[in-house]
């Protein structure tokens, strides 16, 4: 422990030592980049100085930037996707603060996925990173016409869908629980609604979303595979607007506007599905309940030029039920209070206090008897993140993060059982990090950093220590006392070398550590899957990822081609023993198995970013395996999500100023599954014999979707658009499940049944804004 701390401090001091001495005669240009019309701050805008080709900076998550340079007269060039580039003369006699205000582009054309700007020589050395443009995704066809962030990122190489129409996703061979999904910095534990068919993100309330596939900066941590960083809109601080959408399955509305013009604003956004209304209309299903809703709210207040406060919250809930007798509901609540403080024109501080709560409840009722299952995970999270614009070449980011987790696993109660109050467990997760973005010269950028993550077991339930499945000893801690601490160092580095104006190569290594684990015995995620923290038996999951990349621009920068390869090694992966009753067993740790994993692959992406036709073609070649003691005789086997080939093609074409059409085509190798290799009759029933786990394949999956968007001519206030889409144009019956059963007409014959979910799902959505 002490050793680790010492190493960490050494790295920090080395990092600072390496900083070239700050030039004293320099002055600082700092400020915020904003949308001129709405006042919304702009993330990742590029600020360049024409006279100093080496100088430049990217605005941070709050639109803040800071640049030091010698006194003089300059021309600043500020650019951002979807905005007209701003060219502004600046006279720098002393340090000044200037807010740049950018105007949105007149043309409607917007690109869905934007990993690098046209002038990307300033972009950080980040690898495997894609940013989703929320206003452009409405043109990508999706099932039920509900534009959806999570379904759009599944069209990127290296990101795979958890199943037909499902919002769950796997990144580079990782599990669905290995993605850190952040909504305004608050972790979202279950990012899906309605058993995965919708994501919890109401796209009208989202400003920006970035996915980082394993090589994230040290400020992120806690999950192995990826970071999906979703930022909510701040709200228009100039004028009131109402946005909304009417769809066949759901409708939504958002209101935003200034609380005090130029100073503060708010946004309120709500959404509800109404599939249950259709159920009510049928005699058979009229007592059934099936809906979800969610609410996003955010407000910000500019206290003075140096201080700004944001408050944001999310509340979402799903309800499913069969009459009075059976119901299940689940949902996330998150709340974030953030305080931006510009300590000096070089030092930016953000302090966040975050609360997050995920719970589910199952109710069973039968006459006078009832039965309930509840489970809950609660986080209180304090974060401080400093950005130090040390000089033109080094931008340092450092800070800490402390999370108190309270995890209550499935607890059963009711009239017919012994209600065992499980006390739940507390865990304290602490992290310290430091990362430096160093621009060695115009060609070489290095992002390097270190994260120290620690997890301390705290009191609550008894911790049993197992050896070969047998309890060896037990530890009982008081609520507020501390047990074992796991400490891990997570070194990370990415480098970007620009060979010329068009081409660069990248390389990176990252270690990620995960202290919370999702226990699920079903193939698809279910709301009742439980989270569990580290314990005396469960060790932190560790992933080491090595990646190499190549980016080049083709045809006058109209096209961009990216190739990335990765190799990932996973430790302390968790699974269950066969036949284990995981939900009711008194200590779930008695039925867990541990092992390792590996994943490697090649990802190719060709994007067209300019012109009437935009879109991309992505291809992934990959392999994902696990090796767990007690499964498959301890030999390597394919993970379920191992799909050798994965292709996605997305195209959006502007026919004229009113109509645009778009199409999506996806193809992937079927999931790795286990088919029987023989059968036998036992007590009159047909049972199946199995060999190696996941050695077989589901049939290949492919699908074409199509949509057309009609935008009415913009009048002064009202703006409306219609979207018509057809999911699965050629009606392929993609296998959702393959099952084996006796032929009802001849029970000695075995039938192989393919279940397909969606053929031809048409939808219409009306989107409005005034």
């Amino acid at each position: 422990m002490r050793k680790i701390l010492a190493t960490f401090l050494l790295v920090i001091s080395l990092g600072l030592y390496c900083l070239p001495l700050m030039a004293q005669q320099n002055v600082v240009l700092s400020g915020t980049v904003r949308d001129k019309k709405t006042g919304e701050s702009l993330i990742k805008a590029v600020i360049r100085i024409q006279e100093l080709p080496n100088a430049g900076i990217i605005s941070n998550e709050y639109g803040f930037y800071s640049l030091s340079m010698p006194k003089g007269n300059y021309v600043a060039v500020v650019s951002q996707v979807g905005y007209e580039t701003l060219v502004q003369k600046i006279k720098l006699d002393s340090s000044v603060s200037i807010d740049f205000k950018l105007e949105t582009k007149n043309q409607l054309r917007e690109v869905v996925v934007e990993s690098s700007r046209k002038n990307d020589n300033l972009t950080k050395a980040q690898m495997g990173t894609e940013t989703i443009n929320m206003s452009a995704i409405s043109k990508v066809p999706v099932i039920f016409g509900e534009k959806d962030l999570l379904k759009t990122i599944q069209l990127l190489p290296g990101v795979k869908s958890a199943g037909e129409g499902n919002s769950g996703f796997f990144v580079r061979g990782g599990g669905a629980d290995q993605n850190l999904i952040l909504l305004d910095e608050a972790p979202v534990y279950n990012a899906t609604h309605l058993l995965g068919f919708f994501s919890t993100f109401n796209s009208d309330a989202i400003k920006d979303a970035t996915i980082i596939k394993g090589n994230s900066g040290s400020q992120y941590g806690g999950r192995l595979s990826s970071v999906l960083d979703v930022k909510m809109k701040e709200g228009n601080n100039q004028d009131y607007t109402v946005n909304g959408g009417l769809g066949l399955i759901s409708s939504k509305v958002s209101i935003e506007g200034p609380l005090q013009k130029n100073k503060s604003s708010f946004i309120l956004s709500g959404r509800r599905t109404y599939a249950d209304m259709f159920l009510k209309a049928t005699e058979k299903f009229k007592d059934n309940i099936l809906y979800f809703y969610d609410l996003n709210a955010k407000a910000n207040y500019q206290i003075n030029a140096k201080n700004k406060v944001y408050i944001s919250g999310y509340f979402g809930r799903d309800e499913l039920g069969l009459g009075q007798d059976f119901g299940i509901d689940w949902g996330n609540k998150t709340g974030t209070i953030r305080w931006n403080k510009i300590i000096s024109n070089r030092l930016f501080l953000n302090t966040s206090l975050i609360y997050s709560d995920y719970n589910y409840n199952v109710k069973l009722k039968n006459g006078a008897t009832n039965f309930n299952i509840n489970s809950n995970i609660k986080d209180v999270n304090l974060k401080q993140d400093y950005t130090l614009y040390a000089n033109g070449l080094n931008t340092l980011r450092f800070g800490f993060n402390s999370i108190l987790h309270t995890i209550t696993p499935s607890t059963f109660s009711g009239t017919v059982i012994n209600s065992v109050a499980k006390e739940g467990r507390n865990g304290l997760e602490n992290a310290l990090y430091l990362t430096n973005n160093y621009r060695a010269n115009n060609q070489l950028t290095i992002d390097y950093g270190m994260r120290l993550s620690m997890y301390t077991l705290m009191g609550g339930d008894v911790y049993n220590i197992y050896e070969n499945g047998v309890v060896k000893s037990s530890v009982k801690l008081n609520r507020s006392s501390f047990g074992k601490t796991y400490a891990n160092l997570e070194p990370r580095i990415t480098t970007n070398y620009r060979i010329n104006e068009e081409t660069s190569i990248k390389a990176g290594y990252a270690r990620n550590v995960q202290h919370l684990h999702l226990l699920s015995n079903s193939v698809a995620s279910s709301p009742s899957d439980q989270w569990i923290g580290n314990s005396y038996n469960i060790k932190p999951e560790i992933a080491d990822q090595l990646s190499l990349g190549y980016v080049t621009k083709l045809f006058k920068s109209n096209f961009e081609f990216t190739a990335e390869t990765y190799y990932k090694y996973l430790q302390n992966q968790i699974d269950y023993k066969d036949g284990a009753e995981i939900n009711t067993v008194s200590d779930v740790e008695s039925v867990l198995l541990y092992g390792i994993g590996r994943a490697y692959g090649l990802e190719l992406l060709l994007k067209k970013k300019e012109g009437r036709l935009t879109g991309w073609i992505g291809y992934t070649l990959s392999k994902t395996e696990r090796k767990i003691d007690g499964i498959n005789e301890g030999k390597w086997y394919n993970a379920r999500q191992d799909r050798t080939h994965d292709i996605s093609v997305v195209g959006i074409y502007e026919l004229n100023s009113r109509w645009s059409i778009s199409g999506v085509f996806v193809y992937n190798t079927g999931d790795a599954v286990t088919y029987p290799t023989g059968k036998y009759n036992l007590q009159g029933q047909t049972l199946y014999q199995y060999a190696a786990r996941n050695a077989n394949r589901m049939p290949a999956y492919h699908r074409l979707d199509f949509s057309a968007t009609y935008e009415k001519n913009k009048t002064k206030r009202m703006h409306g658009s219609w979207n018509f889409s057809l999911y699965n144009v050629y009606g392929r019956e993609n296998a959702f499940r393959i099952s084996f059963k006796d032929d009802p007409n001849d029970p000695t014959r075995t039938q192989i049944i393919r279940t397909a979910l969606f053929r031809w799902v048409p939808s219409v959505t009306y989107q409005f804004k005034f």
Binding site: L320, A524, T584, Y680, N696, R749
Partner: protein, 264 residues
């Protein structure tokens, strides 16, 4: 928990599910020996069925193994050499099953030896059967609750075999006392599938078996794999068996009680 998956599959069906028979090219494994043996607290003889697995595309039938030598020994040292009946079925001659007794099975086939051991739990009395009704999708559904008082010590496991008018319900009804230790059981036997709905005037027969933990894991594993969750429940594998030597199946010493109820 099962009910959640049930509900999920209903939702999935609402979303226009569509089933079609397809053909697949499947690997065929070497045939493997399957042992299904039991010993109960009822009067003998007790039976051990030996058979071989067959390829998926062949007709399902019992391919008996007729050249085996089968022995069951109890803890008193009585060794019973089972006699061959027909098509892989072997019958005990003298051994007597009792509550609390431990039994060892030994099977010799082509110089290969397979062994298993099972202890018969103490019997928990099946007091009665009662009818449970619940509304479901606009109609009244029926199910049967086996009424018994679970003993105060934790670790009892039960298996129920349900027949509706002589048609056997293929569901594996496997209970334990993780949640209701020491209480009167109020959990119903899930009412078969759509085709095997329980209706008024049906005769429902229930056999209750008090089983060992190994038998519980075996049948619970089969039950989980039959789960109808999206993508098909847990990843299937051969259920963990108490047979040593590489055979499939189970050797179970259990108590047996039977009761019948008429739905009205």
């Amino acid at each position: 928990m099962k009910k959640i998956f049930f509900l999920i599959s209903i939702c999935a069906t609402l979303l226009i599910g569509c089933d079609k028979e397809i053909s697949l090219v499947l690997d065929n494994n070497e045939p493997v020996l399957v042992i299904d043996g039991s010993i109960t607290d009822q009067a003998g003889p007790y039976f051990v069925q030996l058979s071989m697995t067959s390829p998926i595309n062949n007709p399902t039938r019992v391919i008996g193994v007729n050249n085996a030598r089968v022995f069951i020994t109890d803890q008193a040292g009585i060794k019973d050499s089972l006699e061959f009946v027909s098509n892989g079925l072997y019958r005990t001659k003298k051994i007597r099953g009792t509550e609390g007794g431990t039994y060892n099975l030994e099977v010799m086939v082509d110089q290969k030896k397979y062994t298993a051991s099972s202890s018969m739990p103490q019997k928990v009395n099946l007091d009665s059967l009662r009818i449970n009704t619940f509304p479901f999708n606009g109609e009244i559904r029926y199910s049967v609750i086996p009424v018994y008082l679970d003993p105060v010590t934790l670790g009892n496991s039960y298996r129920f075999i349900q027949k509706i008018n002589d048609t056997i319900d293929p569901t594996f009804h496997i209970f334990n006392d993780n949640l209701n230790n020491g209480k009167v059981n109020q959990r119903p036997l899930r009412g078969g599938d759509e085709k095997l709905k329980i209706k008024p005037r049906d005769n429902v027969f229930v056999e209750m078996q008090c089983i060992s933990n190994a038998t519980y894991i075996y049948y619970n594993s089969l039950d989980q794999q039959s789960g109808a969750g999206p993508g098909g429940g847990t990843a299937p594998s051969n259920p963990p068996s108490n047979i040593v030597g590489g055979a499939l199946g189970i050797f179970s010493a259990h108590t047996v009680q039977r009761k019948t109820i008429t739905i009205r």
